[in-house]
Amino acid sequence: MANKEVLDNASLQRALTRITYEIIERNKGGEDLVLVGIKTRGEFLAHRIADRLEQLEGVRIPVMAIDITNFRDDIPDHHDDLGLNQAERLNISEKNIVLIDDVLFTGRTIRAALDALIHIGRPKTIALAVLVDRGHRELPIRADFVGKNIPTAQNEKIKVFVQEIDGKDAVEIVH
């Protein structure tokens, strides 16, 4: 059975645009804002949002990518390696962080990311932006900015495609 496209290119762009506008609304002036993308697709989405902010405000908001594989509690023997070297590690203390990921599902990835962030600094606030919220939370975590809510069955898979690595922008339900 073919994959079902739930967000096409144009809707995906619009979703990112709307998230950007909402980030502006909540962070008046955009001061002390840092975007943190969760690898891999979250990182690209973070850069897209930073591009958009730059178009509007003419200022480049810092973007940091984190790899949280080693922070996941469902992976045995996890340890605290962010996959970042010192240069890539931004000072996030007293900053307003927007954490960015492609899909919000159980919430465990986000929890791990929160752990990781707190591990490297003491942000003033942390907000969460996701392109897709598919439900089925296992933790008390809620996104502040959602591109699109897509109710799904447990057995379905959501795949986010991004131009940078997948050659197209789309969200599909994979059967």
Binding site: T17, R18, E25, R52, L56, K148, N149
Partner: protein
């Protein structure tokens, strides 16, 4: 029969009359759209105006039930080069000539419209009249005529009414609403309440809207009472808000920006408009005599979201603190390119998001 168009600056154009054999006064502007004449002449934004069409042949597509932007034409006169005769039959139940006759609006054809447009692009809009004889008396009368600035009052609803649907509840504040906006809201199955612009804050809030639209409308927004701006200032903090056309201009005024009349009015659908955030270019129907003065925008309150790439004019604004935004162009695509309808998609996504977070 031979009739004449007289401009306030004394220029006279000769043509043949069609539509009603009436004498009218209005402000004359030119329109470069090649399609959609029926939508254009029935759009309330043109209340009190005479329109010269650059498109040389007008009328061949007839008059259709699905192309009304209000139930009666708002214009005072129509000037074209060639009037296409079409029959009235099953497919075309009405033609342009008959339509204008019914509504007592004069038309003039076989006019050198290109000369007229080239003239108007230099002078800007001015008063004009369509008469039988272009004598001194007619000119004097034109000069003496004071055109109304009560266009919104002429076209906007006096009483609230509903356009029910089963979706989100959208309140439309009517300044001279065009049907295209209702059609778009219908596409989203919105449950629509249309309210007069004299409505109070409480009346709106009692209806518990999921979203608010400030409609399009004719004329100079500065001729409206200050209560409208107060209304907008409160409403923008209460629910997602979208201003369109005149509604955009009012949204700007409510947030302390100022307006300036455009040196040459722009009516057409061929200017590239850029969405600044994505750099995407698209086209939309535009009809504006005023634009938000770029320098007057308080960047702490508003930021510019769309720009006309031809003249740089502001085409969209967004509030920094609230989910409130506005567009100068017409996103209802009636007439006009469909890509502009994405603005409604944005609006409804914002509404969904708002409902999600506030329920």
């Amino acid at each position: 029969m031979k009739r004449h168009l007289i401009l306030e600056d004394g220029t006279v154009f000769e043509g043949l009359g069609f539509g009603a054999h009436a004498t009218t006064f209005g402000e004359i502007i030119f329109h470069t759209a090649m399609t959609g004449y029926q939508e254009i002449i029935t759009d309330p934004i043109y209340d009190g105006q005479m329109i010269v069409f650059a498109m040389p042949v007008i009328g061949a597509a007839g008059i259709h039930a699905e192309a009304y932007e209000s139930v009666k034409p708002a214009i005072r006169g129509m000037i074209v080069h060639d009037l296409a005769e079409v029959s009235v039959n099953r497919q075309r139940r009405m033609n342009l000539d008959r339509f204008l006759k019914q509504h007592n609006i004069p038309g003039l054809y076989q006019v050198d419209t290109r000369k007229l447009i080239r003239h108007l692009r230099e002078t800007g809009p001015q008063k004009a009249t369509i008469v039988d004889f272009a004598d001194d008396h007619a000119v004097d009368q034109l000069v003496a005529t004071v055109l109304t600035n009560k266009q919104v009052q002429n076209t906007a609803t006096l009483k609230p009414y509903a356009n029910p649907g089963r979706g989100r509840h959208i309140v439309v504040i009517d300044f001279g609403l065009k049907h295209g906006i209702l059609r778009m809201l219908g596409d989203y199955d919105a449950n629509v309440s249309v309210l007069p612009y004299t409505t109070s804050v409480d009346e709106v809030l009692t209806l518990d809207p999921d979203g608010i639209i400030l409609s399009t409308g004719p004329g100079d927004p500065r001729s409206l009472p200050d209560s409208v701006l107060t209304l907008i200032r409160v409403l923008q903090t209460k629910a997602p808000l979208l201003g369109i056309g005149l509604g955009h201009e009012l949204f700007a005024l409510a947030n302390d920006a100022t307006l300036a009349p455009l040196s040459s009015e722009h009516h057409g659908m061929n200017h590239p408009i850029q969405e600044i955030i994505s750099r995407q270019i698209f086209f939309a129907m535009q009809g504006q005599g005023y634009a938000v003065d770029n320098d007057s925008i308080d960047r702490k309150k508003l930021f510019v979201t769309y720009r006309d790439l031809v003249d740089g004019a502001v085409q969209g604004l967004r509030h920094r603190e609230y989910p409130a935004f506005s567009v100068q162009f017409f996103p209802d695509a009636a007439p006009g390119p469909l890509e502009a309808t994405a603005v409604f998609a944005d609006f409804f996504e914002t509404v969904e998001d708002y409902v999600e977070h506030h329920s």
